[in-house]
């Protein structure tokens, strides 16, 4: 009898403890962000689709079209081509296509790149009604259309 009463009292106290916790949360500030109006900054190590990196001085892509990424890609989703322009020691990239529908964001291409010309973008708002948009992402053209920073 006494044991049952003690158990009952303890049980009731545990309910009050739970209610105290929720009340404390009630008075704390909210932590969620009203997404379309505010957005969190993507963390440093976020892996979006890959993108070409510019040379800070010339504004041109660092890529030398060595095709190491093309070979490293386990899903065969990168297609690179380049030309050797006159007066330049290295090749310049002219085509860089990514099949993002097959890319698993493994990062082998970024790892293997000898000149650090590839990086992860921070883009996550990717949506389209057509498959081709992602099956043939032209990263070179995308970079050219981008305004130089």
């Amino acid at each position: 009898m006494l044991k049952a009463l003690k158990e009952l009292g303890l049980g009731f106290m545990s309910l009050l403890v739970g209610m105290k916790i929720t009340l404390q949360q009630f008075f704390k500030p909210t932590v969620t962000v009203r997404y379309p109006r505010q957005a969190l900054k993507m963390p440093k190590r976020y892996r979006g689709h890959i993108m070409l990196v510019r040379d800070k001085d010339t504004g041109k892509p660092l890529c030398v079209a060595c095709k190491a990424c093309e070979k490293a890609c386990p899903s065969d989703c990168i297609l690179v081509d380049g030309v050797k322009r006159e007066g330049e020691k290295r090749k310049s990239v002219t085509v860089f296509k990514l099949n993002f529908t097959q890319c698993s964001l493994c990062g082998a291409c970024v790892e293997v790149c000898p000149v650090d010309a590839l990086a992860y973008s921070k883009e996550y708002n990717l949506a389209s009604t057509r498959k081709e948009v992602f099956a043939q992402m032209d990263l070179y053209q995308r970079m050219m259309e981008e305004k130089t920073p």
Binding site: F12, G18, Q25, T30
Partner: protein
């Protein structure tokens, strides 16, 4: 201010309907806001400032939906159930004295009327669940009936305890007895029954169970029974059940205010009675919402165990104790 009888009647009718409608609409908003705050979210923000127009948007959406009756269902009972569930809840409010001067009806058996009408709620959910011809609805309806039968017993035992102390069933007289400072409120009448706060806790738990609120929301156990007894209801049919749920919470909390917290009496002696009544009412309603977002739903047999093995013995003890104290002192 006294109006001639027909006008007074009309004024109170309109007043109570408005009160119930506004409460049902805005308690949904309050509930969503409180739930959000407890979970550290902002809650509704899009429709109007701070989401204040959200209930109106919800109501418009519900009313614009097609009213569907399942082909297998019992048409008459199916359409009748929402009416049966909402009418008694509104009728109960007629007996509630909001302040010394504001109360639609005062008669000596008000408390009995409230409990008689209050139990119709179960009948309506049973009707709705049965008429739906849906297994989830029938399971939920059966659960609700056994739950309400179980919780009606300790609830009424507690009320009998209180009636022995007050000696009247008129809600107005019960409130008038508690005048003169908060130590005169029934919850602190320790001379008549040292277990009075426990009595209130039992009453509050039973009230949660009677209004089918979480953690006792067996009527609408979303995760187990789709939407319980309301599964087949579309649009405003469901809306009316929802309205009735909030109306029942208002009635239950108003009753708790009157029986335990001195109704319209102020603890400090300033501001009008209506203000204090509504303040106590909404604090209790806040507690109801707070409880809902703190505890998960209980299992069904634990729910019945709680009633038969814990609440009924406790309420019997308080009943015996009160009668002994009244006889001795």
């Amino acid at each position: 201010m006294t109006l001639p009888e027909p006008y007074r009647l009309l004024a109170y009718l309109v007043g109570i309907l408005t009160f119930v409608g506004l409460n049902a609409a805005y308690l949904v908003w309050v509930e969503r806001k409180v739930a959000a705050r407890i979970q550290r979210r902002p809650g509704p923000t899009e429709v109007g400032p701070e989401g204040l127009l959200q209930p109106i948007a919800d109501a418009l959406k519900l009313t614009s939906k097609q009213v569907l009756v399942p082909p297998q269902a019992d048409r008459v009972l199916f359409r009748l159930a929402p009416l049966v569930v909402v009418a008694p809840a509104m009728m109960c409010l007629a007996t509630v004295p909001f302040s010394a001067a504001l109360g639609a009806m005062d008669f000596n058996l008000a408390l009995v009327l409230v409990f008689a009408l209050g139990s119709i709620n179960v009948l309506a959910i049973l009707l709705g669940g049965w008429a739906s011809r849906n297994k989830y609805a029938i399971i939920a309806a059966a659960r609700v009936v056994s739950q309400n039968v179980a919780y009606e017993v300790p609830m009424l035992l507690v009320v009998i305890t209180l009636l022995m102390v007050t000696g009247t069933m008129s809600l107005r007289e019960i409130v008038e007895q508690q005048a003169g400072g908060f130590w005169r409120w029934n919850i602190l009448r320790l001379a008549a029954n040292p277990l009075m706060p426990v009595t209130f806790v039992v009453f509050f738990i039973c009230m949660l169970a009677e209004t089918n609120r979480a953690p006792f929301d067996m009527a609408e156990a979303e995760s187990e029974l789709v939407a319980g007894a309301f599964t087949e209801y579309a649009g405003m049919g469901f809306g009316v059940f929802f309205l009735a749920e909030y109306a029942n919470i208002v009635v239950g909390c108003a009753l708790a205010t009157i029986l335990f917290f001195g109704g319209w009496h102020s603890p400090v002696g300033v501001l009008p009675g209506l203000f204090w009544f509504l303040l106590k009412l909404y604090l209790l309603i806040f507690t109801v919402i707070w409880v809902r977002w703190t505890f998960p739903r209980t299992q069904f047999y634990k729910l019945l165990n709680l009633s038969w093995k814990v609440l009924i013995p406790i309420s019997l003890v308080t009943l015996v104790l009160t009668s002994a104290m009244l006889k001795l002192f």
